[in-house]
């Protein structure tokens, strides 16, 4: 089964890095968004299996985008990508319905572990 992923990050470098990690797994990156506003719009259009969401971004930040996505689609699987020391933002994100989080610099194994766990979870909501 292929996995359809939406990558949200304002840095091209991060998006490329994440894209490479996912494509190596044979997964499909169906969209990239540079800010929260684009993220919400693309989510509605693409309905991806998984979203990786940066927190600090211009226009609309990751928390607000997460909130909008999960209120509209409670089944959305969103993984937050935070920087070191953003414990409170991460905590907030978990309460807004983020499925999990990783802390940059991104460790490939850990990211994949997080993603696998979410995809394999026998979610009642899904």
């Amino acid at each position: 089964m292929t996995v359809r992923i939406l990558i949200v990050d304002d840095a091209l470098f991060m998006r490329t890095l994440l894209r490479d990690i996912f494509e190596k797994q044979g997964w499909e990156v169906v969209g990239e968004a540079e800010n929260g506003q684009e993220a919400v719009e693309q989510y509605r259009r693409l309905k991806p299996d998984l979203v990786t969401m940066d927190i600090v971004m211009p226009e609309k930040n990751g928390l607000d985008a997460l909130w909008e996505i999960t209120s509209e689609y409670p089944e959305a699987a969103v993984v937050m990508c935070s920087a070191l020391g953003q414990d409170n933002l991460v905590l907030q994100a978990v309460q807004y319905g983020a499925r999990d989080f990783i802390v940059k610099p991104v460790d490939e194994d850990r990211l994949l572990e997080v993603v696998h766990r979410i995809l394999e979870a026998p979610e009642a909501e899904r």
Partner: protein
Amino acid sequence: MDMAKYRALFLSESRDHLNNLVRQVVGLEQDPTNHDGIDAAFREAHSIKGMAASMGFQRTADLAHHLEDQMDRFRQGGSVPASGVDHLLEGVDLLEGLLDDIADEKPEREIKGYLAGENPVVPEEEEASPTLPVSEEKEVPVCHLMLHLAPEAEAPSARLLLLARELQRLGELTKTEPGLEALERGEGEFRLEAWLRTELSPSRLEELLSSFIDVSHVRVNLGDTSTENREEEARTVRVRTDLLDRFIRLTGELITNRTLLQDAQKNQDWLQVRDGLNQLSRMVTDLHYHVLQVRMMPLQAVTDRLPRIVRELARKQGKQIRLSLEGEELELDRGILEELADPLMHLLRNSVDHGIAQQGEIHLRAWREKDQALIEIADNGRGIDPEAVREKAIENGLLTAVQARNLRDIDLLSYICHPGFSTAGEVTETSGRGVGMDVVKTAVDRLGGVLHIESELGVGTRFVLKLPLSVAIVRVLLVECKGHLMAMPITRVLRTLELERDQLQSSGKQLMIPLEDELIPLLSLRKALQMPARPMNSPVPIVLAEIRGRKVGLVVDRLAGQQEVFVQPVPYPIQQLEGTSGCTILGDGRVVFLLDLQGLFLPASTPVVTSED
């Protein structure tokens, strides 16, 4: 004799050691060649073994001995294989079960299966343990869970919240500690206690939960409240009612004092302010003293059983040894006493095993000197042979032949506290390998104390532990470097002095101070703290201290006096800084760090003062 008292102490201490052991083993999984980790894990197992043996819990002692052997093998091999980690963790689980048995006053469970090594996992019968609620209606049982996060886990509150969410999928989560709301406020630390009503078996739960991200350790028990109550008990103390009455009276007096000061301020009556402050200071001293009393226990609590243990140990080896005690009514902080039980045992064992050949006496004496407690353990045995220590130190690569030759005997003795050092040829159940001395030194250091060793061949050996009376409130020496105030526990300071520059001598490039008949190397606190160097003041302010058994002179910018302070742990995330052991807030609001000299002056990068400074 009240064995329950020791059992509680034994259990709480063993559980601490066990937790540390788990941490070390888990760390070794990531970094299998970490020598310090292997040494530390070895010491933890060793500590449990020693305590269990002296309490007469044979299976627990045997299992700990087995784990210790494993660690020793890994130490010699230089690394821990992955299968070794699994085996160790299984052993740790079993050890945990044994401690539970002891806590429940049940016979210790079987360990033969594990020791045989083929199928070492805890046998099925454990699940049918007597705590299983026997109920006709097949009620869904409640499990008690204890989850620990890896210390490197990011955003622990968020992680615990996610874990709690996972738990909700596995059953009915009846309670968590900290509660979910506290977690949402970000008040989680690195552990979560939970009560879960679930059909899943404890072993299945453990398996599921330990695979979760950032979870370092999980313990699951059937049954709901027993553990909770037991842990509650360990956190409580008995307080004499007259002491409580005293607190109430003092509170009343403080309230009156506040009114007096408020009035004085309103009337701008400075004389009355002064009287009020004098009163306040008297009351605070009084309160301080009595609050400490609550935490104080006589040394007797840990020395009571020692004479019997010594006699039995000696008899096993066909020796005749008598232990006499003096000053055991000396009162010490509970925290210190708990840390002390183990080191004392090790010192006595060393004396029995290695000190006294056939017949002799060990004298344990405790007394108080100002705000320090001193405990001396002296035997009239054969003494430590400095030549044997020299040879062994060279053999183990701790010293070069030249260094060993130049060290004075008394300085040389501190090397017996080095991990893995031993002059004893054989390994016995209770000591040997030199591990014991390592444990002693580490414990004394952790308490902010100092260990002195004196020994004379054919006359005997004398250990002196110099300890603070209380861990929380200590007297410190304040020093200043580049405008920053820092503190060191006064127990670690031998003396302070100020010398003119021309009184310093140089040996090569290194500057030394001549003191009595020895030359003491000068180290720079500025350099150790990576602050910019600058010309030394004249006279040069110097703190004479002992680091890893060697006298050194620390050059500081200014000596800023002594003070009694309330030490608090350094909060996350700055607790990771090497070289600090706590912090305190001064009267003017300034935060001052307590320096941990051992951590600050690591042997690899000793910041010596050279003639160019």
